[in-house]
Amino acid sequence: MIEIENLTKRFGTNLVLDRLNLKVPTGQTCVIIGRSGCGKSVLLKHIVGLLKPDRGRVLVNGKEVAGLKELELNALRSKISMVFQGGALFDSMNVAENVGFGLFEHTRISQKEILERVEESLSLVDLGGIGNLMPSELSGGMKKRVALARAICIKPEIILYDEPTTGVDPITADSINRLIRSLHDKLKVTSFVVTHDMRSAYHIADQIAMLYKGKIILEGTPEQIQHTQDPVVHQFINGLSKGPITEAIDTFKEA
């Protein structure tokens, strides 16, 4: 269970998150939608403890993330995986070392067993047999899938995805969506996905929440979101260039 209570974060004078509240029950997939630069990735980084809140708190399985000591935080992080927007693969390591990093570093499992787990994870993302390649030899889409394999290799309870389908072709995007859905169905993994790809959001979400001006302005099932009367959400999910979001920006520019 992920609980976010009154989360506030400011960078300089820019208020990115403003008393944000959200709950994601165990085993559910929550998709956060919102415009680029609205603070979605900042929200993700608070859940895994990469950023500390200015105010409010984030609780993961009942524990306040910002209050954890290093060992407790590491124990929590061994149950959480994060898939970064650009993959964030380690350049100096090959694919197998990247995918097995968590197991090599923190477990006493034999190397043979780790390499089997690595191959199994790579096969799940349709990239079996590429363990010896370096990240520089992979395409953007392959990097994303390797990052996904790295995330699932440690068999986490929670996976955080930062725009998992952005910048990949539609076929790869669909296979990533299916994988996220199957992890949810088979392993009951709690997923927290940040995206602005609405097709992906409808496919994988149990719950969709829209982040706007630092707050969650609406949350509901994919059906509820699709049929919402909220003008801001309506403009965003339908990709309209005219509406309250862009009017607010135009008014700001004119002022």
Partner: protein
């Protein structure tokens, strides 16, 4: 106008204080994590190879030329006094006490420190450092400690090597050009040098190695703004390291002057 000047001055002071605090924090964490097991021997060996072993060629060339130049410049004055034979002692003392440690440190700061900042800076902008943290690996333990240990070990070794090559440079000029006999040159060199000269030079190089590692990693960790940010951080890292090496050299030279008069 005056207000703007004071605003700018205040901003610079705050930036400087922030830098000092951040560097002190990184130093404390690095020292603590260096002593705390587990020890990453593989990473230390890898970094020692990159920072130390691969620096031998450039250090050889620079130290040899410094030896040549110093011997020739000394000869210009010593010949007027008719004391050419003392060029050997001048070369030995200047290289072992001062030029060897400082020149080696500056070469390594330019070659290795800049590379550390660029590498860690690129990792920062591509979120690899965040990824390390989410995988429960402490970035200071994983990235800074091996660089800190390897530079602290390798810089004194490189300095000792530069001392030998620099003295060899002086030897070549004196023996082949100025007509001093080989045995006379060696005798005067070893008579002039004391253990404390070697010790103070190597101690300074140990401090310089720590400075290069800490400043370059600190600047790499604090990169902002993509490729341009990496470039700026790399430049800042080299400039700050050079300044800190010269400042530390001044402090330790003064200190040793009074401790070992």
């Amino acid at each position: 106008m005056l207000t703007l000047f004071f605003i700018d001055l205040g901003r610079r002071i705050i930036t400087f204080m922030y830098f000092c605090g951040g560097l002190a924090n990184l130093t404390a964490q690095t020292v603590y994590l260096t002593l705390k097991p587990p020890y990453k021997y593989g990473h230390i060996i890898e970094q020692s190879n990159k920072a130390g072993y691969e620096s031998f060629p450039i250090v050889s060339v620079v130290a040899l030329f410094i030896g040549f130049i110093f011997a020739l410049q000394s000869a210009y004055f010593m010949q007027r006094l008719g004391s050419e034979m003392y060029i050997a002692s001048l070369v030995a003392l200047a290289i072992v006490r001062e030029l060897g440690p400082v020149i080696t440190a500056l070469v390594v700061a330019g070659r290795v420190g800049a590379s550390h900042t660029a590498e860690l800076g690129s990792m920062q902008v591509t979120e690899q450092i965040d990824a390390l943290e989410t995988l429960a690996a402490n970035p200071v333990k994983y990235l800074v400690v091996p660089r800190f240990v390897s530079l602290s070990l390798m810089l004194p070794i490189l300095t000792l090597y530069a001392d030998i090559i620099g003295i060899l440079g002086g030897y070549l000029i004196c023996v082949l050009k100025l007509g001093i006999t080989s045995s006379m040159y060696m005798h005067i060199t070893f008579t002039a040098l004391f253990y404390k000269d070697l010790f103070t030079g190597l101690f300074k190089s140990l401090i310089f190695g720590m400075i290069i590692a800490l400043v370059s990693c600190y600047e790499g960790f604090n990169v902002e703004g993509g490729a341009e940010g990496v470039g700026k951080a790399t430049m800042r890292s080299v400039v700050v390291t050079f300044l800190m090496i010269i400042a530390a050299d001044c402090i330790f030279t003064a200190l040793f002057y009074f401790i070992f008069p």
